[in-house]
Amino acid sequence: MSRARYERIENPRPLSLNRGVTFTDPFGLCEDENGNWRRCTVTWVGGANADITQETRDLAQRLADSADVDLLLSSGRREGSCDDSLHNCGMAFDISKINGVDIGQGWVYNPEAHALVQQVQNTAQRFSEVRENFGPSGLYRSPSSGQPQAWLWPLWPDRRRDRLFWPHQNHIHIGMH
């Protein structure tokens, strides 16, 4: 059993994200700077409140594992009413870096992060518990638990869409039902 796993890990070619391969491995493995495989990680920017619900924490880890990427979270729980933001209930998190690559700077999207952002947002679309999936690759929202996420662009008027789209050029917002 351990031998079979060892052989798989020793041949990184089919798992390498650097070559633009979208193949997803079943283990949630990421490559470190020395080329060794390890578990994908979810870490936090210093100062951000990581006190999110266990379900949300699990979702972040499953998202990292399924997309085979390391995630850096820049925001978790915040003060305020749950009606105003899922963050205020500990049911949302924001991703600012994927595999150490920043998603954007301020209002400007990083073109180098394009494939990684698409990979994470596409993966998040497959999770039925994800309610809000907002980022540079698109704005997706599920109306209720279990319902697929709808692409908001064709549905919303330009002004409302822009107010949501442009501020999500430097991070991906993921919120849960």
């Binding site: 100062g47 600012s96 991070h171």
Partner: protein, 159 residues
């Protein structure tokens, strides 16, 4: 009555003029109390900005909140003049305001108020080049080598 009024007005005007000159001289020369020398004379910033005192840190921001998620997005810059020149810190908002990161290559020309600095970001540093006014910092922000510079306006945040 008129003479009396003129007699009072003349010294007052002179006194005001002297006060302004002394104030300008102390700011532009950088002399005076140690705190003026440490934090900077701010001549370019102080000119025409009545609410800017010597020793103030100037904070500019384009951070905005998103209605649906409450997320914050944008940049906040704080510019400070030290012993060896200008310095500053940036805080990026990617959901919420992140930790302060030092700016490098900060230059502010006194006469023109031309302002430039670099936001270190790994191999691909972001650069700002523009002008400072009493109320805002405006100019071109080039986030990445491969992206075009974006016209940006950072409003001054008064504490």
């Amino acid at each position: 009555m008129v003479l009396m009024f003129s007699g009072i007005e003349r010294p007052t005007t002179r006194a005001l003029l002297v006060m302004v000159l002394i104030g300008c001289r102390s700011q532009s020369s950088g002399g005076g109390p140690p705190q003026q020398q440490t934090v900077g004379d701010l001549p370019a910033v102080a000119t025409g900005c009545p609410d800017v005192a010597v020793g103030d840190t100037l904070v500019f921001s384009d951070v905005r909140s998103v209605e649906q998620t409450g997320d914050l997005s944008g940049f906040q810059f704080a510019l400070i003049r030290g012993d060896t020149g200008w310095g500053g810190v940036s805080r990026e908002a990617a959901g919420e305001l992140g930790p302060p990161m030092p700016l490098v290559e900060v230059t502010i020309e006194a006469a023109s108020r031309a302002t430039a600095f670099v936001v270190p970001n790994g191999p691909d540093s972001s650069r700002f080049s523009g002008t400072m006014s009493c109320d805002s910092l405006f100019g071109w922000f080039k986030a990445y080598r491969s992206t075009p510079a974006r016209w940006s306006v950072y409003r001054r945040v008064r504490s």
